[in-house]
Amino acid sequence: MSQFHQVFFDETDEHLATMESVLLAVDLALPDSEDLNAIFRAAHSIKGGAATFGFADLAELTHILENLLDKVRKGSMRLTSEMVDACLQSKDVLSGMLAAHRGAATVDPGSVAEVERRLASLVGGDNQSATVAVSTAIAAKPTDVVSSHTLYVELDHLPEVDYEVLLQSLSALGEMTVVQSGSREQSQPWVLVFTSTLQADEVTESLAFSIAPAHFRITVDHGQQDEGDFGLFLSSSLAGGVGEGTPDIVFEDDGFGLFAPQENASTVAAAESADAGFGLFEPLPVASAAIEMLHEEDGFGLFAPVAAMANTAAAGMAHEEEGFGLFAPLLSGPVPSQPDTAAAVPVAASQPASPRAERVAPAAENSIRVNIDKVDLLLNLVGELVITQSMLVQSSQTLDAVQNERLLSGISAMQRNARELQEAVMSIRMTPIAFVFNRFPRVVRDLASKLGKQIELKMVGENTELDKGFIEKLADPLTHLVRNSLDHGIESPEVRQAKGKSAVGRLTLRAFHQGGSIAIEVTDDGAGLNRERILAKARERGMPVADSLSDSEVWGLIFEAGFSTAAEVTDVSGRGVGMDVVKRNIQSMGGRIDIDSMQDFGTTISIRLPLTLAIMDGMSVGIGADIYVIPLSFVLESLQPQAQDLKTVAGKGQLVNVRGQYLPIVSLASFFGHADAANADPTRAILVIVEAGGQQLALLVDELIGQQQFVVKNLETNYRKVEGISGATIMGDGRVALILDISVIARHKQRPPAASMRQVVGDVA
């Protein structure tokens, strides 16, 4: 059985993700029945799987969750934002349980009890009177596990339902006789007699997948019972017990195997009678649950009692007053400090946070799961093939075109195939950025409530694809940027209104292709960065800054290590990831990050990433006997300078005049210590103008060889990091060419500092 566990875990992950995305998208006022069904189905599938694989805790919680969802789905309860909150909370707890089964730390039992209590109280809420009668009716025979039940099933005839399939699936579950076939003309319903070991509500559940609950009725044949008990047997069995303040926990009966576990009526009476027969009923002491709930306050900031909310708000205010960070302290005034306002905030804030206009498509796709190592291996092999193929092309060029016509046409066909194959394999690694973006509706929603702000999140271009490797690495930096925007960027509703902006802050996540790279932008319409504040902070830290710095240079300061630490103390942004780490993460992916900000208009942080890690467009250049590759994204132009354009500074540093701009010349031959460069004289060589880190420079090379795609290989797999080199690639002839790290070269502009050289040389001696 355990070999299926991984599959179950993966599937459950998907179900949970679906549940969350639908929950966040659902319109409270007018919930789409398809959405509600989707949430219910997700919970139901998890429950079924969990019971099958013996994960009792998962099954138990989803069971309660399912009860609630089932009621909502059938329209007997109205969906409230409180329910959505509770469902999201239970989703979190379920994820935690799942992680625990996978080997992570176990979930705090207190939080489980808290969620169960919450769900149960919601189920019990307004339905008590309606369901108690029904559940006692079920309770009459709840322990009858082995004996079969005879049910009368009446189905309305609907044109959109395929009854043949429906009946077939029913007859697979037990013995079924059709008493009366339905027909549309006479508005005659189907009447079936169904005998199986299933309880009425289980049959209800199975049927509900194919036909709306309003269109069928199930009657239990208790022998003497008459039509009086007609009606829906809702699986809201917990209601009775909860009403009396004892949230009983129903353990699933393992004997039921694949079928959904039995929905036991857990009224107190039923609990007593069931105790002897099967199942475990463990009354949870209410008092301790209440205490645990108090302990949980921090964990569920959203749902914390009023007093706690006031505390957090007050604490937040205290932090704000310390004057953290780069954003003007807008929050201190309007942060709600009276308990009653604080209580009102989460409800108000939670509504605008859910994206109403766009529906987030559930992540389910027709796909197979493949280990990423296999894909990488495939990619490597295809890379090899492409190299071998270009070797063939090279050696076939000397052949006589007439005599070897067949061979040559075969080779050119292979060239095309190899390229297509390479592209196809590359596309396997490409994943839509939605995988990263999908977490943000939730993050924003929770944070907005916590901070008492109103945020509208907009996501654009979720289908932009980028390398799978980036997806995982992007999550942390992006989360940090989003949290920053919410915490420090967007002001509280009061301040916004005072500034004449709409009370609802806008946060936009946008992903799109731009040239050979992918751009991801996090835009808020908040307060913007505060130039004076950043400069003051920089001086405080002893950085040499002048007032004449350009805006972009000032914004760049917040990426300095340790610069933003003061801004990190709030519990929202305090995740130990400073902006310097964000920048480093992005750079390690070969990307770059820029800030654009305007006081009171907002801030845009844009990230640019190469399309993929594995393949890169580059320009190969010759330096002496060696070939180096310059990533094309850095190259602006290449030229052969005229003597009058060359200038020197202090007799050494060479500059070249390119249309009025004087750019420093960096000789790659001397940067890498090669003595055999053919042309030290720039007028006989080629200058490649590159741009990195906001500055331009001219690289002196001997010749330009060509422009093509290169398969990037890691130099550090078998060797070590080399200053000024970002990787290696294999050329058509099988030789290795090194790929230049332009940003490092731009920083040093000459050979690496002598210190590092001495270390290596000294060791050798």
Partner: protein, 164 residues
């Protein structure tokens, strides 16, 4: 010879199999399990600012493998590169490294009693990477702890942080 081999197989635990290569007049032995393959020397791509004994990197079926010339490293033999130059590809710590030597002579099996402790030279000769001396009749094979040598700081093959 045959007898000897069988004898050693008899007490297999104590027997070590070594690949013997030559540097100048000296014979060195390395644990054969570390050896992936033996190839001829092909043109390398040199690496900027690397020590002289790191010749550069080559493409070994798609992976980029650094090549170390042991002759330069130990100052033995003539660093000439021709059709007879041999590269031993080693697998060490999940890394692949190529080592240029003068030639590979054979594979020997050494019993425990044929192992001698490394000699004491004081500071004249660096003996940290010499595990011991193997004696086979008149032959003396210097047994090198290749893993230790290749991961040492002086080889500059791995980043300091990687070495753990």
């Amino acid at each position: 010879m045959t007898e000897q081999l069988e004898y050693h197989h008899g007490q297999s635990k104590a027997v070590r199999e070594l690949l013997v290569f030559t540097l100048g007049q000296e014979e060195y032995g390395i644990d054969i399990l570390k050896v992936q393959e033996i190839r001829g020397y092909e043109a390398v791509t040199r690496i900027a600012n690397a020590p002289a004994f790191i010749k550069g990197v080559v493409n070994l079926r798609g992976s980029i493998v650094p090549i170390v010339d042991m002759r330069i490293k130990f100052g033995l033999g003539e660093p000439v590169y021709d059709a007879f130059t041999v590269v031993i590809i080693l697998n060490i710590f999940q890394r692949t490294v190529g080592v240029v030597v003068d030639g590979v002579s054979d594979v020997i099996q050494l019993a425990e009693d044929e192992l001698r402790d490394p000699p004491e030279f004081g500071s004249v000769v660096e003996t940290t990477y010499i595990e011991g001396l193997g004696t086979k009749g008149e032959r003396m094979v210097i047994i090198v702890d290749i893993e230790r040598l290749m991961s040492s700081a002086e080889m500059a093959l791995v980043d300091v942080t990687d070495r753990g």
